[in-house]
Symmetry: C2
């Protein structure tokens, strides 16, 4: 199967619904705005491509000034390297012979770095890269309060740093965290303490990578960090509007859907269900924001149907009407479709989402 | 892009996680069991392929005695017709010139029927098929209590039946419903009343199609129905175990995942997140049932990580261990991956999920 990106020019009336529509003017504004913020504060920006999974978007981000990209899966990184992206950080514990073999091949064609939060992962990397031409850069993932992956203390980071530093095929890149939202001071203190401990023990700590779109406008508060990773900022979504981090007009991705049934005065049914909008609620009510009727709630989804409650609205769409929905969570929606439509004023391009579905 | 089904033989150790694993022995048992039930009660079975999106599974269902298949999207139906499936019902209001054009082409190469619940949809179908070689069979979708699509009364069904009956390119197939769960008597009364009204007005009503996997063992209670549609029964899932409709060993689909991090004694992290298991809860707690540790809850998902709470369990997996998860909802999980692995005793086949992502 050919999953490389293909572009094909179409006209608006050709777009069958449901469809993921991406406004490239808004994309560019979002890229430029966060890049400007990071430039102003002297922080390197390393966008996470999980949100778009499109080489053309990664290239826009690099062109605007990003130092490289972040991926979560080797398959995503392979696709981006195929498209000529040169600097890739995979923020994921890589485990298993097959994956390590792919990682070694990938390292031959881009500047690659990965993370580890335990000795098992470091051992696998060390064995794989022992005879490589160049050592693999490894950052230590730290749990600074988000309660996901990561070493639990500066002392634990030190132990792992020694393992990495002593492995001939590896080089110690520093620290990485996916931080909790909000408490930037705590994150900064945690990382500073670990960095100081590494340096006090004669170990290098050149890079400290933090991230998170919800933290993006406060990235400078983690002053010890050298780079910030952010994914969702390129498209934005309803969760970020809700958090006060962007406006409706900053949302570049929307789902175009058609009203296919009006069984009652209070109910409209659209052709976008959980296989398009996903069941992600992110703490909100309803499954997306309808741009044409923000007061109308998408109350439930079945796989291919969305149900709209019109009982508290004067809006009364007819069968055949099209609407546009800002999804709760953009990153999972662009992963649901084989193609997205890139739209600007007078041009529509149908593009394969080349890194979607690459689960390994 | 080539989305036709391809099979490739692999060995177990080649399977990188996360992966969707399908036990074909269990699949066959599930197919045979529901087919046997329907045969015993004289009901035609028309499986919904949304669950598997695989031509090979549709062919197994037909071979076991199914009269045809159900699809929700034209793209699914096209893929199944490509694979030689001859009798397809699309249980969806089809709207828009492009889709109607595809529908007309599809009708030339299989026995096709569709549904409609409003005059706008009937008009589109009537115009499209007015000069077709064969009339298109249209069933009227009825809302028998599930509060999704469907006409609201027998009188409304009669009005739509007249429109269909009077359109030269269409033929009236009868009634269709996606019923509410549980109250089969109400569904039967609703449909019987509508059928009686059609017949009293000189209109045909040869077919009545009901469905739903949660209703499958009680399908005979909708005695007026001529056929039953069911999708999830082929794989089963945690929601059906929870509802008492199947056992763990009847679940044919599982997600194989690897423990990639053990940050604390109470927490394990796996490499399956919401881009694999999806956020579908279907009213349950946790994001799937771990076969190796049914008492352990998958408490939260980020896109590529699943978090396991080990605080109430003696089970303590190591980094690198593999586990198998029965997802809450099988139908949405097989839609997340480009490939699934079909496994029987001594054979593993990697197969493209050829109808996934075909959102139109």
């Amino acid at each position: 199967m050919d999953y490389t990106s293909q572009a094909e020019t179409v006209v608006t009336s050709d777009i069958m619904t449901p469809a993921v529509i991406i406004d490239t003017h808004t994309v560019q504004k979002n890229i430029d705005k966060l890049q400007g913020h990071c430039d102003q504060h002297g922080i390197s920006l390393r966008p996470h491509i999980k949100t778009h999974k499109l080489p053309s978007m990664a290239q826009r981000q690099i062109k605007a000034g990003a130092i490289g990209i972040t991926c979560q899966k080797i398959g995503e990184a392979e696709t981006m390297a195929d498209a000529g992206i040169k600097d890739i950080l995979i923020t994921y514990n890589i485990i298993g012979d097959e994956k390590l073999h792919r990682l070694a091949k990938l390292a031959q064609r881009c500047t690659l770095s990965v993370v580890a939060d335990n000795a098992y992962v470091v051992d696998g990397l060390a064995k794989t890269f022992v005879r490589a031409d160049h050592p693999l850069e490894v950052l230590i993932e730290c749990d600074t309060g988000a309660n996901r992956c990561g070493v639990q203390s500066a002392e634990e980071a030190l132990g792992l740093a020694r393992l990495i530093h002593n492995a001939s095929g590896l080089t110690l890149g520093g620290l990485m965290t996916y931080p909790p939202m909000g408490d930037q001071v705590r994150v900064n203190n945690w990382l500073k303490q670990a960095k100081d401990l590494l340096i006090a023990n004669g170990l290098p700590c050149p890079k400290i990578s933090s991230g998170g779109t919800p933290n993006m406008w406060r990235s400078q508060e983690v002053s010890v960090a050298t780079e910030h990773r952010s994914g969702t900022y390129i498209y934005n979504d309803r969760s970020l509007i809700q958090a006060g981090l962007c406006r409706i007009e900053d949302c570049a991705l929307s789902v175009r859907a058609t009203v296919i049934s009006r069984p009652t005065d209070d109910r409209a049914i659209i052709d976008a269900g959980s296989k398009m909008l996903t069941s992600d609620l992110l703490g909100m009510e309803g499954f997306g924001l309808i741009k044409e009727a923000p007061d109308v709630k998408i109350t439930s989804l079945s796989e291919e149907h969305g149900i709209l409650d019109l009982s508290n609205s004067k809006w009364s769409p007819k069968v055949g009407d099209q609407i546009h929905i800002i999804p709760n969570h953009a990153c999972v929606v662009s992963n649901m479709v084989n193609h997205v439509y890139l739209v600007n004023d007078n041009h529509i391009e149908k593009t394969v989402v080349s890194a979607r579905g690459l689960v390994t």
